[in-house]
């Protein structure tokens, strides 16, 4: 018969957090890639097809007056971060529902349920960055020092997405309608954010208001790698302030609702 081993050494909260975050992130990625043959290609194909459609419409059908050339690189620099944002916020609506069994039976820090989504989608985003590099080489887009803003852009986007996830995930448990509302808002936001156009293409006066959408400043940071003129300091500062504000609201909402969520899932 087996012997009862002595209790395992206790782990620090940080260790527990990291381990559970990584376990769930890795599982998300594994499930996504193990079940499909093309795996990685799919996560790149989606933004790529969209980029080609918009490129075709705006350069081959109508004369492009928005964005910068090469337009396909301009598009990808906005579309890839958008895929991360869209995927993470969209999946956050199911953060608790999808893994209800695990949520009910383990006591890992609850924010992990949201953060693993942002992390796994973020890893896919980083893995897709080489695609832009390939297109930049093909179409002769010149890499500038603006690429140094890339880490800042990633951090800001992570802050923003985590904040939104912390607000949306617990609310959806009580208001299922929110799941569909979020989808609709995301679709609106795609056109309301400077993805297929640049912030400077907006009519004068609208630019300031558009900057209150934190994605405007964040995408301008990404684009600075190839298009230094796209960098809009005012938009970036507003984006940073908005992202931190949203994260703060998210933490408050999440803390208030977590008790009720655990009863409901």
């Amino acid at each position: 018969m087996t012997t009862a081993l002595p209790p395992r050494p206790a782990r620090t909260p940080a260790q527990v957090y990291r381990q559970s975050l990584w376990l769930l992130t890795a599982r998300d990625l594994k499930v996504r890639y193990a079940t499909s043959w093309l795996g990685y290609v799919w996560s790149v194909l989606d933004p790529l097809v969209m980029a080609i459609i918009y490129w075709f419409v705006f350069t081959q059908i109508v004369d492009r007056t928005i964005g910068e050339a090469p337009y396909i690189v301009f598009l990808l620099a906005g579309l890839l971060p958008w895929m991360w944002f869209n995927g993470a916020v969209g999946d956050a609506t199911r953060a608790f529902i999808k893994d209800a069994k695990l949520v009910r039976s383990t006591r890992i820090p609850r924010t992990v349920w949201v953060n693993r989504i942002v992390l796994s989608k973020g890893i896919e985003f980083v893995a897709a960055i080489p695609v832009i590099a390939v297109f930049a080489v093909i179409f002769g887009a010149e890499l500038t020092l603006g690429v140094l803003w890339l880490p800042v852009a990633i951090v800001l986007q992570a802050v923003l997405t985590v904040g939104l996830g912390l607000i949306i995930a617990p609310l959806v448990v009580f208001f299922r309608d929110l799941e569909r509302a979020v989808k609709l808002i995301l679709r609106f936001l795609f056109y309301a954010s400077p993805i297929i156009y640049g912030l400077s293409d907006l009519p004068a006066g609208l630019g300031l208001w558009a900057s209150f959408n934190p994605l405007a400043g964040i995408i301008s940071l990404y684009r600075a790698a190839f298009f230094p003129d796209q960098l809009d300091a005012r938009a970036v500062l507003i984006a940073a302030a908005m992202s931190i504000l949203i994260l703060g609201v998210g933490v408050l909402v999440f803390r208030r609702m977590v008790r009720a969520v655990l009863k409901e899932v």
Partner: protein, 258 residues
Amino acid sequence: MAAPESAGRADVVIRVRGAGIRFRRNRRGRRSFKDLFAGRNRRSRPGEFWALRGVDVEVRAGEAIGVVGRNGQGKSTLLKLVAGVMLPDEGSVDVVGGVAPLIEITGGFVDDLTVRENVYLTAGLHGMAKHEIDARYDEIIDFAELRDFVGTPYKHLSSGMKVRLAFSVISRLEEPILLVDEVLAVGDKAFRDKCYARIDELLAGGRTLFFVSHNERDLKRFCTRGLYLDGGALVLDAPIRDVLAAYGRDHGGTAVAE
């Protein structure tokens, strides 16, 4: 409070103070967006009840506690509070050291993952490092008698296999506190005997046991102290014999099988 002699001056590992938790009476009645904007009074909560209220318990290391009560009187809720998978609305629940909770018949396993993946995921989420799981993996599988099914998706297992796997993983977490809800009633007799031997072993190793059961024989076998819950309140905290006697008196002794 009558702590058994054997516990002596051992440290308090579970401290429940004035704990209360309330639920909505109608779980299915989800609120929709309309309610959110319908103003404060519509959102007041007439349909809520306290599943547990004003519960005070202190448990010392090495105690074996049986929780008794009719269905719906708060037994499982108390276990969930101790397991930390639910948080009290009032009062506090403090647990020193880790908890190995066997409170859901499914053990929280994921349908689409294989047995092997589930073992690593669940044990990992309960705080086990990968090398610790590696060291125990074979034993977990052998104990659950699932050697031929490690690559099978969890959803294809029979309900008996699921319980075996859950008990096998949770009882191998090596945590100082073990919580067992009435899940063992499902397994066949041979496996139940094996589980009981494992629980005996863990108790001999100084573990603390929180045990919910309707089976008087099991309660007497493992537990020294009993908690009797009724209507969400702790009505009696005494040696298990006294608790079972009181429970039998209140409910005609028919609910428990001797």
